[in-house]
């Protein structure tokens, strides 16, 4: 079967996925529903970073804030989704979220998305789901590739990669430079809507296979990202803002194949993150601010997958994790914590003929701040006929209070309010239920319907501390809130003709925050996506279009000063991207990309880059 035929099929069942059960599984046999954005999807998307790549993904909404672009799943805010790179945590959360724009496309082989609580395998933060970015390895004896693209707002993307693959080793090095001028959706003031940026990144992935049963993977990465913009305070102060972040990481992953399908995996990683934040007030030094944040995450893990008989694949894993943070915003200027975890999972195949798999598992986390926390999960997959898959998952999730919530002491110098952390916080907890159906009536038609329910308790929220002054209000983090999200997602993939693929999706997410008795801020109730891809057989012509239609989003702010928040809704919008590319021979390809064709976006609620055209060329040898 040629590669084209695989991905053109209704569902690339041969693709290997790892995120749902933490064991490598062909997608078609995965006990936990896993979505995959394949290497080919990535190439055809024209995306330059992970944020652009996820833009058209079904049932996923990208939140854009000062902290960057981050994903929201199942109607929950972005800090309830765990983002992993090659299965490990990475440092650099700002305001609780990782900026997806920092992950350059040239490093990404595929992206796996698992919806719903996965704390039973991954621990904290995996409440709404897990997004696992799998980085590239060299696949061919000699690989050389490069890409250059230039677009409006002086968006310039340059990247290159070289790889070697031999029988006993492989290595790949990729580097990129990405920059853009940012934009301003409200020219009536000096403030900018999105910062100008400049990023340099380099990554190496080396695999050693000294014998048939052992493999060692070493990944290293360095990334520097500078962002500049202009801020305006309520009092009229104008600030030139400059953010400079550096990320470095190293991951070592030895793996042993033991007898009869059993496997031992170890991993250790160290990630460092340094953020320099500068606010330079114009015409005065009174409010100048410089903050430096250093974060370090060290992880050690081991997982043993044991095939017991033919029915049980038991995974036993253990992880240790240490995180430290140095920033002036914390009381004492520093915070650190250690967590150890143990998890067990049994993938129990009760029937192979009519596939019936039961997946019970549980994880125990012991944290230096909040102590013990247990999260179980039970999942089931049943294929009553080969065309139909039924899945159900019941799981608990949790989210540890972050350093900000624990130790923050933040005073807004110009506005006059104060936010303080509380070391007494408990983790936020969730109960998750999802039921899904996949139907493959014909080889070229794939349909899926999933319902989800999340019940969150002990949510951490800022609470106004009865004040002793009128101006600076004091807020403190407390476990005071609860919330519920309930919804359904329907997707269809149809390949009516060779080379033509249609993807349709609709997601409904009903959310309710208990404290305010209102929907969760910024969550759209409705979202739909449509994507059409056509690849003309034999002539090297490709075109892809995708549209995301997002309903009204509610926002809450006390605009009249009565102490209660008023609801304001952002308008519904549609973002439409079209890409056309043509092979030129000898591995070269040229492309033209039009993004945000309908010019959606507004300064207040949706800092989306206005309509942008770009073009470029790539080669792949």
């Amino acid at each position: 079967m040629e590669p084209q035929a695989i991905s053109d099929g209704a569902h690339a069942v041969e693709a290997i996925v790892v995120t749902g059960s933490r064991t490598e599984r062909p997608l078609g046999e995965a006990p936990v529903a896993t979505e995959i954005i394949s290497e080919q999807d990535i190439a055809e998307s024209g995306a330059q970073d992970l944020a652009e790549l996820l833009e058209g993904q079904p049932g996923l909404y990208l939140d854009r804030s000062f902290a960057g672009t981050s994903p929201m799943l199942q109607g929950l805010p972005a800090d309830y989704t765990l983002i992993l790179v090659d299965g490990v945590r990475v440092p650099g959360r700002v305001g609780g979220v990782l900026d997806l724009q920092r992950f350059p496309i040239e490093d990404i082989e595929r992206v796996e998305i698992v919806r719903g609580a996965s704390s039973a395998l991954y621990g904290s933060d995996a409440i709404a789901g897990v997004i696992n970015v799998i980085t590239r390895t060299a696949q061919r004896p000699l690989e050389l590739s490069g890409s250059g693209s230039v677009g409006a707002y002086r968006n310039i993307d340059l990247s290159g990669a070289a790889g070697l693959h031999r029988r006993r080793w492989s290595t790949r090095i990729a580097a990129g430079r990405h920059s853009g001028d940012g934009f301003d959706l409200d020219p009536s003031d000096v403030a900018t809507s999105q910062s100008a940026f400049e990023q340099y990144n380099v990554r190496n992935q080396t695999r050693l296979l000294p014998n048939d049963s052992f493999a060692l993977t070493v990944s290293t990465e360095y990334l520097r990202r500078d962002r500049e913009g202009v801020d305006l305070s309520g009092g009229g102060a104008v600030f030139d803002r400059h953010n400079s972040t550096e990320t470095g990481s190293i991951l070592l992953r030895p793996e042993w194949d033991l007898r009869e399908g059993s496997r031992l995996k170890l991993w250790s990683s160290l990630g460092t993150f340094r953020d320099q934040f500068l606010l330079d007030q114009r015409d005065s030094d009174a409010l100048d601010e410089r903050q430096e944040t250093r974060e370090r995450i060290g992880q050690l893990g081991a997982q043993l997958d044991l095939l017991l008989g033919s029915a049980h694949l038991v995974s036993i894993g253990s992880e240790a994790w240490h995180e430290s943070l140095d920033t002036e915003r914390l009381v004492g200027g520093t915070g650190d914590r250690t967590r150890g975890a143990l998890y067990v999972q049994d993938e129990w195949t009760l029937s192979e003929a009519r596939l019936l798999v039961l997946l019970p598992g549980a994880r125990l986390d012991l944290d230096s701040q909040f102590g013990l926390h247990v999260t179980p999960r039970a999942a089931l997959r049943f294929d009553p006929i080969s065309e139909l898959t039924f899945r159900v998952s019941y799981a608990w999730g949790f989210k540890a209070p972050d350093f900000r919530e624990l130790y923050l002491l933040f005073e807004n110098p110009s506005a006059g309010y104060l936010v303080e952390g509380s070391s007494e916080l408990e983790p936020e907890t969730s109960t998750h239920l999802s039921i899904g159906l996949e139907y493959r009536p014909r080889p070229r038609v794939w349909l899926s319907l999933q319902g989800f329910w999340n019940e969150l308790t002990d949510r951490i929220s800022t609470d106004l501390v009865p004040g002793d002054e009128v101006g600076p209000r004091r807020f403190r983090y407390r476990n005071i809130d609860s919330a519920r999200t309930l919804g359904a997602e329907a997707s269809a993939r149809i390949t009516p003709l060779p080379g033509l693929r249609l993807d349709l999706s609709y997601a409904l997410a009903h959310t309710r925050d208990a404290a305010s008795d209102q929907p969760i801020s910024g969550q759209p109730l409705h979202r739909a996506t449509l994507s059409v891809r056509y690849r003309a057989p034999g002539v090297g012509f490709e075109t892809s279009s995708r549209a995301a239609i997002v309903g009204n989003r509610p926002f809450f702010q006390d605009t009249d000063g009565d102490g209660a928040s008023e609801r304001r809704d952002s308008h519904a919008y549609a973002s439409v991207d079209v890409r056309v590319s043509q092979a030129l021979g000898y591995g070269f390809r040229s492309f033209v990309l039009a993004e945000n064709m309908l010019d959606a976006g507004d300064a207040e609620f949706l800092p989306l880059q206005p309509r942008t055209f770009s073009g470029g060329a790539s080669f792949d040898y």
Partner: protein, 207 residues
């Protein structure tokens, strides 16, 4: 063939070492960001300038949370009393958004203030005969500052919680000093020209 691949493999383990060096040098990679020094602006905690029509504009840097800035309508400048509660030289005391007067519980200067809501400075040509209030002890309210005329009716400002900003209400205050002189004043802003808070400015004239 096997030998060949072994030799090649032998060269590879160097790579992690290079990576470790790269990682170790990480901290020193980017230069430290430093704010540029801005010039001009600040030349004293209290600056008074003529603003036409016989009116004067006074700008105060009241940003220090630990100390009050004392102002005298006579010297048109900051005064620094050793014992503010028993000193007649100062008229107004300012700290952040709080303004006190040298009268009542705040001082022995005998000052009092009349509040003319909705009035503009030009409207007020003669001092009102009555309606003057002295600083009183802090009542059971949201703040811990003495209740001066400037805190009456929720204070001299409107607070916007959406962006945490203060803006002055349309009020003319008539200040009566202990020696019977009257000054009309209107607060212009809580922010200086660069937008820094706790830098109140007011326009005033003697009546």
């Amino acid at each position: 063939m096997r030998n060949h691949s072994k030799t090649r493999a032998g060269t590879v383990p160097l790579r992690p070492d290079i990576s470790l060096v790269l990682l170790a040098s990480l901290a020193a990679c980017a230069d430290d960001l430093v704010p540029e020094a801005s010039t001009g602006g600040e030349n004293g905690r209290v600056v008074t300038e003529a603003s036409g029509n016989g009116e004067l504009t006074t700008r105060v840097d009241a940003s220090d949370r630990e100390r009050w800035v004392y102002f005298s309508f006579v010297s048109r400048a900051e005064v620094t009393p050793d014992d503010p509660e028993n000193d007649g030289d100062w008229h107004l005391g300012l700290q952040r958004f709080s303004i006190i007067t040298n009268g009542g519980v705040s001082g022995s200067g005998g000052a009092a203030v009349a509040i003319l809501s909705g009035a503009t400075l030009a409207d007020v040509t003669v001092a009102p005969v009555d309606g003057y209030v002295e600083d009183r002890p802090d009542a059971d309210d949201d703040d811990t500052v003495v209740d001066s005329a400037f805190a009456e009716g929720g204070g001299w400002y409107d607070y916007d919680p959406s962006d945490n900003t203060l803006s002055p209400k349309q009020i003319v205050y008539v200040f009566r000093s202990g020696d019977g002189r009257h000054y009309k004043l209107e607060i212009l802003d809580y922010y200086d020209t660069a937008g820094t808070g706790a830098h109140p400015s007011f326009v005033w004239a003697e009546l």
